[in-house]
């Protein structure tokens, strides 16, 4: 039977290879955050609070462009809706844990930790220790992410404006968007959402992002329904 220690270390180990992608991505996200003129120390506190690079960058961009608070909050939360899929998938595996442990693991939930641990946890026959695998991968991801975002912010604040580094923001999202398109229905959703976002960019109160995302989701679902 695996011990608590061996499960935790196995989780850490499962995440280590992913760090090769996480650390440069964290550095660039940190640079992107300070492009919105947020001081690095404030950005770091925000990153610790939210632990979601995409949501933080979008929120700061919308705040800079003068969007109302509710639109900022709603837009950033729409981006994080994907965590609900992970949450639903982890729920049966974490059922017997205390509220405190469940809350800690929920805070540590990320795309990377989920990917590193879900297969191991689903196949494990030792539910009393298997959550430590997720704790190991989740803490490793958290530490690597916050450190690299923090370094990126302090470095980014010193880089010259002539480098056009603000362009790293759309490129960061592009790098996530393309692999997220896994079939033609998702491609349809992405094309429609992108086009709608351009058409709706003058929508009142900067609601264009939310409108475009909802239209994309709806079109994807309808397209899939018709094909079935």
């Amino acid at each position: 039977m695996p011990t608590a220690r061996s499960e935790f270390l196995a989780g850490v180990k499962a995440l280590l290879p992913i760090l090769l992608g996480v650390i440069p991505f964290g550095l660039i996200s940190g640079i992107a955050v300070v492009q919105t003129h947020i001081p690095p120390a404030s950005g770091l506190v925000m990153s610790l609070l939210i632990f979601s690079g995409a949501a933080l960058i979008v929120a700061l961009q919308l705040i800079t462009s003068g969007a109302p608070a509710l639109v900022v909050i709603f837009s950033a939360l729409v981006i994080n809706l994907r965590f609900m899929i992970y949450s639903a998938s982890l729920a049966p595996l974490l059922k017997r844990l205390s509220v405190g442990r469940k809350s800690l693991l929920a805070y540590l939930l990320s795309d990377q930790a989920y990917a590193a641990s879900i297969a191991h946890m689903s196949e494990s026959s030792f539910p009393e220790v298997t959550w430590l695998h997720f704790l190991g991968s989740g803490l490793t991801m958290w530490l690597a992410w916050q450190t690299s975002v923090g370094i990126g912010m302090f470095v980014g604040a010193r880089l010259p404006a002539s480098w056009s580094l603000e362009f790293t923001i759309p490129l960061t999202f592009l790098a996530l968007a393309v692999p997220a398109i896994k079939d033609r229905y998702m491609l349809a959703a992405a094309v429609v959402a992108g086009t709608t976002a351009v058409l709706a960019r003058e929508a009142p109160f900067n609601t264009g992002l939310v409108i475009a995302a909802l239209v994309g989701i709806l079109v994807g679902m309808l397209f899939e329904q018709r094909a079935a």
């Binding site: 939360l77 809706l81 929920a106 362009f167 960061t172 398109i181 959703a189």
Partner: protein, 107 residues
């Protein structure tokens, strides 16, 4: 509203999304319609973020090859599609933009 209040609301909201099924709805099944909709969230949201930002040059939309970001964005899309690598995608887009800005005067 204060930026920090927005950030605190975001921290709470993001935590509630993460904790949703793990803690609050642990005995509930996900409605099939909800899980079908959630499947389309990443592709739709990310695309809605990317496209206008790539096309915006000097605060207005420019759909033309005179917009270096459009070409750099196309290069990065191709690299993202072929490699699925975050770092290569960002680097290729930035290098393409720098090359265009350096080579073509007036962009």
């Amino acid at each position: 509203m204060n930026v920090w209040l927005i950030m605190i609301a975001l921290a709470i909201g993001t935590f509630l999304i993460r904790v949703s099924f793990i803690l609050l709805l642990s005995n509930r099944e996900v409605h099939p319609l909800v899980s079908r909709a959630l499947r389309f969230v990443p592709a739709s949201v990310l695309s809605a973020l990317v496209v206008p930002q790539i096309l915006t040059r000097d605060h207005s939309i420019l759909i033309s090859f005179a917009n270096p970001q459009l070409i750099a964005g196309m290069v990065a899309t191709l690299v993202a599609w072929r490699t699925k690598n975050v770092l290569f995608t960002i680097l290729s887009g930035m290098v393409a933009l720098w090359v265009l800005l350096a080579l073509v005067p007036g962009l």
